[in-house]
């Protein structure tokens, strides 16, 4: 494809291409006029954008094409793709990055595209143009005028003409802007965040900020994360909305537990109670999502006849999921949920210098501790617990102990997520990465047990509705056996991830970073480059 340069002009501009060409002693030929609707697809969290890719559905009358990255990569389609597996197989990397998230239109453009050839004195085309004039919306009904876009395609051997024409455009419209990609300009025209809603936690705390202020920042972020994901969860666009909502709930509960002294008790009691309710109400649907997501993977490991016999199970899970989705939607539409969110937002909306209510339990000087001091204390306490439990694990330790360790690791991980900005990034990242691997390993072990229990329960429930066929029951039995074998293999390979976490290097860092809590003054000597919190 010829190299393309993109110039954007103010919205509504309709450039006179013939005049521009004549100004350059060239001719112009209008070769085609097309009325198009372009839908830019992405996931809720902007995975396509962050992968530096573009997915556009181009509709012209009744014909649709999927354009991937450039207009030359075009695939005829009957409808817009929703899931990664609907993209061409050549896009393996993009499919992997999209994962389980659903694609949807983020921006919709309606435009008239006029295509021109700019001609020399022999009527040879020396430059190609596309001029796009139209409107854009980000999903509301309101269309905003879109910046006019001129795409200039250089033809090999005619660079001089290409530059001459671009100079003519810039001379006629000094406010014209050259961009590498039109998406950000369009998004800006309708006030849309093109990068999507990032689910990556990026809390920026400062070592010497009061811990109360830090807690407010943490909890507000989680309140916003719950709020952002409610709409998608209610509709059930994809399973990640519910997952991200539940992560926000779990983090909030963990932080309220670890930093209980920093919030007035009755406020804490209510918040913890409502978050627990929310966690319980979302659990069933999440479990069913996971079963369905994993069923394809597990079924793929069975012989073909057994895999096919699992279809009644899949159908049972889908029906159960539908019921759970409806129940959760009712909960999220309930006055109880709305009141909690409103109340919690108001509690956290107070200024950073005020406490979240009035702390009672800790002594005044403890209450005024810095974020760093408190972080060190709570992390060190939890870390010691994890190390003690993990080091006690042997080949004969009951499975229940691994579950306990997994829960402790989770609490520790939430603390790292909250406070990692207080420590040197590279060093903390190494420790957190090892913890994540350990947690994933333990999580997989736990999940395999839950899946086995689930299969047994589903078999009973299916039998209650209508006795499943023998092949289905046999296939489920085989699946349970496979899950059990995988669980045993996970159990036996615990030592590897544990050694990645519990080793002299991590111990040295942890001891230095977390062990002595009241070191705000020494902190800046220990970690040069970290800047102090600005005093008010």
């Amino acid at each position: 494809m010829a190299a393309c340069r993109i110039l954007v002009l103010p919205p509504g501009t309709e450039p006179d291409i013939v005049k521009l060409a004549l100004d350059c002693d060239l001719g112009a030929s209008l070769t085609q006029v097309r009325e198009l609707t372009l839908e830019y697809l992405d996931t809720f969290d902007g995975r396509v954008y962050r992968a530096a890719a573009r997915l556009v559905v181009e509709q012209e009358r009744r014909t649709r094409h999927l354009l991937i990255n450039t207009a030359t990569e075009r695939y005829p389609i009957s409808r817009a793709p929703v899931w990664a597996h609907e993209l061409p197989v050549q896009q393996a990397d993009l499919r992997r990055k999209i994962g389980v998230r659903a694609l949807g239109p983020t921006l919709v453009r309606q435009l008239v595209q006029s295509e021109y050839g700019i001609l020399d004195d022999l009527d040879k085309t020396v430059v190609r143009l596309e001029v796009k004039v139209g409107a854009v919306t980000s999903g509301t009904d309101t269309l905003s005028p879109a910046p006019t876009e001129i795409r200039i395609f250089a033809l090999r051997g005619f660079d001089e003409f290409n530059q001459r024409f671009i100079d003519a455009v810039l001379s006629s419209w000094p406010q014209a802007q050259e961009v590498s990609d039109e998406l950000e300009v369009l998004a800006s025209a309708c006030g849309f965040a093109v990068a999507g809603h990032s689910t990556k936690l990026a809390l920026e705390l400062d070592p010497s900020m009061p811990v109360n202020a830090a807690l407010k920042v943490m909890l507000r972020t989680m309140h916003a994360q719950i709020d952002t994901n409610v709409a998608g969860t209610k509709v059930g666009i994809d399973s990640e909305f519910l997952h991200d909502l539940r992560v926000a709930v779990r983090r909030s509960r963990a932080w309220l537990s670890c930093l209980r002294g920093q919030i007035e008790p009755h406020l804490r009691t209510r918040a913890v109670g409502e978050l627990k309710w929310l966690s319980e109400q979302t659990g069933t649907l999440r479990d069913l999502d996971v079963y369905l997501l994993k069923l394809d993977v597990y079924a793929g490991a069975l012989p073909a006849p057994d895999a096919g016999a699992l279809e009644p199970l899949r159908e049972h899970l889908r029906l159960a999921r539908g019921r759970a989705q409806r129940a959760l939607r009712a909960d999220l539409n309930s006055p109880r949920f709305a009141e909690f969110m409103h109340w919690w937002q108001a509690v956290l909306a107070q200024s950073d210098t005020e406490s979240i209510g009035q702390a009672v339990a800790p002594a005044p000087d403890e209450f005024e501790e810095t974020a760093l001091a408190v972080a060190n204390r709570v992390i060190w306490k939890r870390l010691k617990k994890v190390l003690k439990q993990g080091r006690a694990i042997s080949a004969h330790t009951p499975a229940q102990e691994l579950h306990k360790l997994r829960l402790e690791c989770k609490q520790l991980r939430y603390l790292f997520e909250a406070f990692s900005s207080l420590y040197p990034a590279k060093k903390i990242r190494r420790l957190v990465r090892a913890l994540r691997r350990l947690q994933n390993h333990l999580g997989e072990f736990q999940d395999l047990e839950v899946q086995q229990d689930g299969m047994r329960l589903f078999a009973h429930k299916m039998f209650q509705r209508r006795a499943p066929e023998i092949p289905t029951l046999l296939a489920m039995g085989r699946l349970i056996e496979q899950l059990h074998q995988r669980q045993m293999a996970q159990r036996e390979s615990f030592a590897g991830p544990w050694a990645d976490f519990d080793n002299p290097r991590n111990t040295r860092f942890s001891t230095r970073a977390f062990r002595r809590p009241n070191e705000a003054e020494d902190f800046y000597e220990k970690w040069p480059g970290m800047k102090p919190w600005p005093s008010s």
């Binding site: 050839g117 022999l122 009527d123 051997g157």
Partner: protein
């Protein structure tokens, strides 16, 4: 070998057919008459023969995009007529020529040479560098004789494959019909598809475009497309 038999029309239309089929094509106009260059509305250039042979000329800098996707042209350079004489005095001219082509390898799928009529050092170099040689052949006694002369000179080779095809076939003429019906009389087996004598081909000079661009459903356009498909299957 012979002039006016449809070489340029063949080169231009086959290059266009290949480009339409999705191949990346470069057509090199080696004829000082610059007919291909004319058809694509380009200007022929001057100078550069000595630098070309010394390997000091970057041919890529002279390539021009045509008006059609996937199809570029190296326009004719009038001075290349001198290149022939210079080539004749170099050691291993075919190797020298092949070196020139290396810079195109990665970018194009197909390289088509529109050669000047007659046998010359340059055309022998082109032959040696080619996988196939398409020989437009008017169904006439003299054309058959020319093919025989070529075979006497070059013999039968795997590479390049000699591929005559009947060109400018006038189905009203009995001689044309008889020759086309008896291909075994030819020195090399001809391609199955032939190009009819057609006014659309002559109109290329006025329209300055491949036939498929202004007469897509014409017999000539369909014939070139069929010839291209057959050529792809051959090589």
């Amino acid at each position: 070998m012979k002039g006016g038999v449809g070489k340029t029309a063949g080169a231009v239309n086959l290059a266009h057919a290949a480009a339409l089929a999705g191949q990346r094509v470069l057509l090199w106009d080696l004829d000082p008459q610059a007919a291909s260059t004319f058809y694509f509305r380009l200007r022929s250039d001057r100078g550069g023969a000595r630098k070309l042979l010394a390997g000091n000329l970057d041919l890529n800098a002279f390539i021009k995009a045509s008006d059609y996707p996937n199809l570029d042209l190296l326009p004719a350079r009038f001075s290349f007529r001198k290149a022939d004489a210079a080539l004749a005095h170099t050691k291993a001219p075919d190797k020298r020529f092949r070196r020139l082509l290396k810079s195109f390898d990665s970018f194009y799928d197909i390289l088509i040479f529109d050669c000047a009529p007659g046998l010359s050092t340059m055309s022998e170099c082109v032959l040696a560098a080619s996988d196939a040689v398409l020989i437009p052949t008017i169904p006439s006694t003299l054309s058959i004789r020319t093919l025989q002369l070529l075979r006497d000179h070059f013999g039968v080779t795997e590479r390049p494959r000699m591929l005559p095809f009947f060109s400018m076939v006038d189905a009203r003429r009995r001689l044309h019909r008889e020759i086309v019906a008896n291909p075994s009389e030819l020195a090399y087996p001809p391609m199955l598809n032939s190009i009819p004598y057609a006014s659309q081909v002559e109109l290329m000079g006025l329209r300055r475009a491949p036939v498929a661009e202004f007469a897509r459903s014409s017999a000539a356009s369909r014939a070139f497309a069929a010839l291209w498909s057959e050529l792809v299957a051959c090589i």
